[in-house]
Amino acid sequence: MQYSDVLMVIGANPAENHPIGFRWITKALKNGATLISVDPRFTRTSQLANIYGQLRSGTDIAFIGGMINYILENHLYHEEYVANYTNASYILSDAYSFEDGIFSGYDEIERKYDTSKWSFETDAEGNVLVDKTLQHPRCVFQLMKQHYSRYNLETVTSITGTDRDTYLEICKVFGSTGQVGKAGTILYAMGGTQHTVGTQNIRIFAIIQLLLGNIGIVGGGVNALRGESNVQGSTDFGLLYHSLPGYIDVPKAVPEENNLAGFLARVTPKTGYKVNNPKFIISMLKAYYGDYATKENDFGYHMLPKISNGKNYSFMYLFEEMRKGGLEGIFLWGSNPVVSSPNSQSAHDALANLKWMVAVDLWETETSAFWQSEAGKNYADIDTEVFLLPACSSYEKYGTVTNSGRWMQYRWEALPPKGESRADLQITHELALKLKELYQDENTPAARQINAMSWDYGTDHHPDFDKVAKEINGYDIQTKRQLSGFGELADDGSTACGCWIYCGFYPEEGNLSQRRDNVDNGQSLYSNWSWVWPMNRRVLYNRASCDLNGKPYNEEKALIWWDETKQEWTGYDVPDFIKTTKPTDPAGSKPFIMQSSLLGDIFATRSDGPLPEHYEPYESPVQNALSSVQFNPVVDIFEGKHNPRGDYDKYPIIGTTYRMSEHWQSGTMTRNQPWLSELASHMFVEMSEELAQEKGIGDKDEIIVTSARGEIKAYALVTKRFKPYTVLGKKVHHIGMIWHFGYKGIVTGETANKVTPIIGDANSNIPEYKAFLCDVRRA
């Protein structure tokens, strides 16, 4: 980040929520960079920025779409990069079209697209037709240009509420990073993702960065600022219903996937690095099912659960199912949905439908205590059994976490677990042993599955940590040799590996996540500090930092380059491919090796369209000015008395939620601590002076926020940081609330999520916590 020329923070507030990460932004500013902050409110980040643009929550696509339009019209894009490293040159089939907010292939009744309508033209051998001059009227570049030509200055600023001159300045300044050798970066967090168009928000950030040649270079990129210490790792390891470790889809209950070959056929693309998926999957099956997994039984593939085809098992759907009584038991691993769920009262109520709950946590949370009178419940009516298992903290155990930059860092044990608390590793191990013991003499289908699972971490209370770590890394089953990288994984059952992207962190030499050599080997990569997946590569897609001949676009910020004399790639970082591959070779010329096209996908199939299009939030004060389609046409709507949609007439104010520096997530890790509780001890709601005056509310007054879902009491924080917008000629107010509070802990307060709706992104299913309708009054 410190090497960027321009940094645009949109949908994040790092000065507040990632303060130490922000130090690198400060460094960039000292080096002469420009910081742009785009946010509904004037945040701590905005305060430190050179340019602040106010945008109405939920209008990021309009905002960036307008910038793309400006960049294309004024020819600010990086032409060589766009033509050669992205799919802008691909020619689309005639079936693709876009009209009035809808792409071709839409089924109104199913609220779904037939995405086959968005395919590319191919020759007889199936190769995509391209036009590297980018002039063909049906090439992605031209159709994208046409798409965003509607996003003109007037329309965009009337939607986003941004001041015209400021907006133009942002377009110019950020657009300037399209010059060869310049670097612009985008930083986002939940402000980008927690919308019904969240995935497309991030897609449009990526598109503008591809147009400007800002991906794969030092000081570039689209940076997700992640909120939890190991949300990266837990995602890498497949703790999401749709994903096996290493970002491979889970198998589905369809006839084609009734055997391993059929499943591999679906999840293995024909090109790109993922052609190796069979090796990764079979090695994972060997790590899961050990000796049981043989070639004859498809390496135990049939033992893996197959999700019901078309059924969504993600967070909101899970709670809907619980509400309907379809779930019996839950394991909570440091999770507190009574505070963190959208429409949280409905989640709270749903918990009573469970037969049993196992909560593994350091604290008694709002969730594990959901049955108490304090929680507003009549305990006598609640039959749920609750098992609260005390977990220890991160420095009372040892293991690794992976940060936002994919650095896998080791944490040593400073002292043993407090009281009788135990590490989650031990708890999982002991539970697994106990369950295996219960099933060992049975031969039912349920028993066969758990008996097939290998669990070779010893029989002690605490599992053999080293064995767990080595299983993650991968080893040769015969020789037990630790593998040095995923290039060594095989599809014949001779290797076992728990998560292929981590293969190489623990080679024969030792556990590289423990490395503490902080010597900078160039471009602040610190390649000998800890270990970074994949293969200790610090900057993904680094090939894109060089021109077609392998020469860095910017010598001072070089990452890797082609050495003519040695005929190999060399530099500070590890290239994405075999280092003797010539830059002009097909395999050495396309940088985005994880994509099947090997290119940066400007045009990409998502459930809600191949190009990001602006739709209003589910609850919005205005009509969509860009089309007659009001909100994302493919999102699922959770109907029912528990989740009504609010109207503008009754709820004319935009509400949004966010985090603050002194607290963290649902507050369990901060509201149970005296210092942090003292630093920020009240649930508050921020609003503008104008709104406060209209409503007769004074600073620190008790207020009530209402929405179609419910109401909460909080304190008013009247501030100049909030300003009403003029949106499509109409004055619109907005308020913001912190989301960390609940009824447990040293300091307590009402939960913001009681007023948020259950509705989410069409691709990731993340709830729209960031933009909804509400009203506010004095208590």
């Binding site: 990266q232 006839p255 199912e321 379809g326 767990v468």
Partner: protein
Amino acid sequence: MATQVNRRQFLKLSGAVAATLALADLGFNESNVQAKTKALKIQSLKPTPTICPYCAVGCGILVYATEAKDDVVYTEGDSDSPINQGSLCSKGGSIRQIYTTEKRVEKPRYRAPGSNKWEEKSWEWMYEQIAKRVKETRDRTFVEKEDGIYVNRTDSIVSLGGAALDNEETHLISKLMRAGLGLTYIEHQARI
């Protein structure tokens, strides 16, 4: 202890390249750290490096526990870490209280159906009971085949969370819940 072995192995591996790794088995220069801290109380104590449990910037922190390893005396930013170079925010700066706060649950607790209170129980009792509940629900709801296809799953049990756990823990949870128990409702904080 297994970890000690690891640390030594690790030192062998990187000792040649980094002078800062010369001292002790913790892999960083303790005297340097002590010069910077000076506080008498901790002069005789050994710092243990950890990574902040809050946000995903991944700041390095040093934890000073008592010699008896029964309390945390002090914590500070790890000046060797290239990520934070010693600095911390308000949250990272107060991780000592994650240990010292009275709010920590220190014994397993059980709440019976219809009850208004927690009861303290032994770990063994908890494991027995939980395993029984899991088995009972799972056996009753387990589906081996659906339309002739092996599905080996139960749609009745949920595993939620894990974003603050160690990688090794998420690996074991992922393995047990999906591969061993056949759960499909596996979700965590990335979704919310």
